[in-house]
């Protein structure tokens, strides 16, 4: 009888099976064989047999290695230690074939050969090695110019979309910004000193291909301030079915500009009379729906930068929270000193006030936006009001009355 009867069933479907792949690896790596056997055992017992955490790492670093042990080491000795190594990915996940060969060779020599390309933080994940192999793996990685990524209560490896390297929507150079932030916060990435994790994700436009708004403590999303550029001849070509919608990436051959584009505009700021497309740009909320449908007719503006948002996370009990606008628009010019300073201020405020395992977004909700803006030295612009005109209460502070007496309508926060 097979050692893994339950897993074997997963090979029977028409879809690609990770079991098949792992069995192939198991032919040369005993760890992969025990990995399969332990997983099958978990399916039977309906409980994980992994223990997580501990003190493993490489000298000088508190991040990048995630300890993992089997709680059944006598039954599955191949996965007695099965630690994870996070390798800091290049911006935009661009690798040369030689770089990939180097990484695979290192992992073949020192680990299970099993990779996760890529983890949700963006790192390349090496899955499964023993404590003894950690330092040799790290030495070989650094010799080839690689470094470990973030883990634990630290700055996590910043990640970004492909940006200007491959995308005409990109409103700033995401890869450059991501690289700059990675270099700037090296200390905080390798030496955990925060209340909990802190993630930076950088998207070049509001399409948000790295889902920064939902997954990053600090979401940096490209945006434009001026008008959407319109090529009326191309709009007519879309309307006539001469150009396929979404650059051909749609099942529909022909676009009905009114029904598919203007009528679906969330702020109803567009109109189309059959010949000419008009956009009331002041009321555009930059959702990108129209631009994504007609990329040859519409382009983002030329006065570009980014919106900074803070606080997304997904706690189990309270449910997911999206990032909240803290800076509606900022220029994105290297070396990004204003943003580096802001991030440092946010870290300071969070470290000073945050509880253990409290994300910065949770702290922002607990202490309030007023406290946040005062503490990090930001002006509170109107775009930060999450639900405008929905709250009938306003809490006056003593300073407000003093400001009014001094002739100012509102205090300067």
């Amino acid at each position: 009888m097979s050692d893994t009867p339950l897993l074997d069933q997963l090979e029977s479907g028409p879809w690609p099976s990770f079991v098949k792949d792992l069995k192939r690896v198991a032919a040369r790596k005993p760890a992969a064989k025990d990995l399969l056997k332990q997983l099958d055992r978990s399916y039977k017992d309906k409980i994980t047999h992994w223990k997580h955490g501990g003190i493993v790492g490489v000298l000088g670093y508190g991040s990048g290695i995630i300890g993992r042990y089997s709680d059944l080491p006598d039954e599955f000795p191949g996965v007695e230690h099965f630690h994870t190594i996070r390798v800091n990915q290049p911006s935009g996940w661009f690798y040369t074939t030689q770089a990939l060969r180097d990484l695979c060779d290192i992992w073949d020599r020192h680990g299970s050969s099993i990779l996760n390309v890529h983890g949700s933080t963006g790192d390349m994940i090496f899955l499964g090695t023993t404590t003894d192999e950690l330092e040799p793996t790290f030495a070989e990685l650094t010799a080839k110019g690689w470094d470990l990524g973030g883990s634990g209560s630290a700055m996590r490896t910043p990640s970004c979309c492909v940006g200007k390297a491959r995308c005409e929507y990109s409103c700033y150079d995401t890869m450059d910004f991501c690289y700059e932030m990675t270099q700037e916060f090296q200390f905080d990435m390798h030496r955990p000193s925060f209340p909990y994790k802190f993630k930076i994700k950088c998207s070049g436009c509001p399409n948000d291909c790295v889902a920064a708004v939902a997954r990053a403590d600090l979401s940096v999303i490209g945006v434009w301030k001026d008008d959407i550029r319109i090529d009326q001849a191309a709009v007519a070509a879309y309307h006539a079915g001469e150009i396929k919608p979404r650059g051909g990436g749609s099942p529909y051959a022909k676009l009905d500009v009114k029904a598919d584009v203007t009528d679906l505009c969330p702020t109803a700021c567009m109109s189309f009379d059959g010949k000419k497309l008009a956009i009331d740009n002041k009321n555009c909320n930059h959702c990108m729906h129209c631009i994504s449908l007609m990329p040859q007719a519409l382009r983002v503006g030329t006065d570009t930068g980014a919106t900074l948002l803070l606080g997304s996370h997904a706690p189990i009990l309270e449910g997911a929270q999206m990032s909240w606008v803290i800076v509606p628009f900022t220029e994105m010019e290297p070396p990004y000193d204003n943003i580096k300073e802001l991030i440092a201020n946010i870290h300071e405020w969070w470290s000073e006030n945050g509880k253990n395992r409290e994300r910065v977004g949770e702290l922002m909700l607990r202490l309030g936006m007023r406290n946040f803006f005062k503490s990090v030295g930001l002006e509170p612009p109107s775009q930060t009001v999450r639900t405008p005109r929905a709250n009938p209460f306003f809490f006056w502070h003593a300073e407000d009355f003093e400001a009014e007496a001094a002739g100012r309508k509102y205090i300067k926060i």
């Binding site: 223990k51 955490g53 501990g54 003190i55 493993v56 790492g57 000298l59 000088g60 670093y61 508190g62 991040s63 995630i66 300890g67 042990y69 080491p73 006598d74 007695e80 230690h81 404590t131 883990s151 634990g152 209560s153 630290a154 200390f187 030496r191 955990p192 000193s193 925060f194 209340p195 909990y196 470290s351 253990n356 395992r357």
Partner: protein, 80 residues
């Protein structure tokens, strides 16, 4: 009065040593304790003092639902 670099390293090491087995301390806990005892201490020096303790192997980072600074000890989760 602010501590010298060497004094600061030993001050932090003593805190970690005394807490061992009783309370797990995060880097920020250490910084707050240093600043409470020595309000004029430079925060950056605290970070680098912890770095020195880690780099010399006198302390290690651990992860138990959060990252802590501890005295090196036998890995409880591993089979020996």
């Amino acid at each position: 009065m602010a501590l010298s670099k060497e004094e600061l390293v030993e001050f932090i090491y003593d805190m970690v040593l005394k807490a061992q087995g009783k309370k797990q301390l995060k880097a920020m806990d250490l910084q707050k304790a240093v600043l409470k005892a020595h309000p004029d201490q430079d925060k950056t020096m605290v970070k680098f003092a912890i770095k020195e303790l880690i780099d010399t192997g006198r302390c290690v980072y651990t992860y138990f639902g959060g990252s802590f600074v501890e005295i090196p000890h036998e890995e409880g989760a591993a089979k020996h």
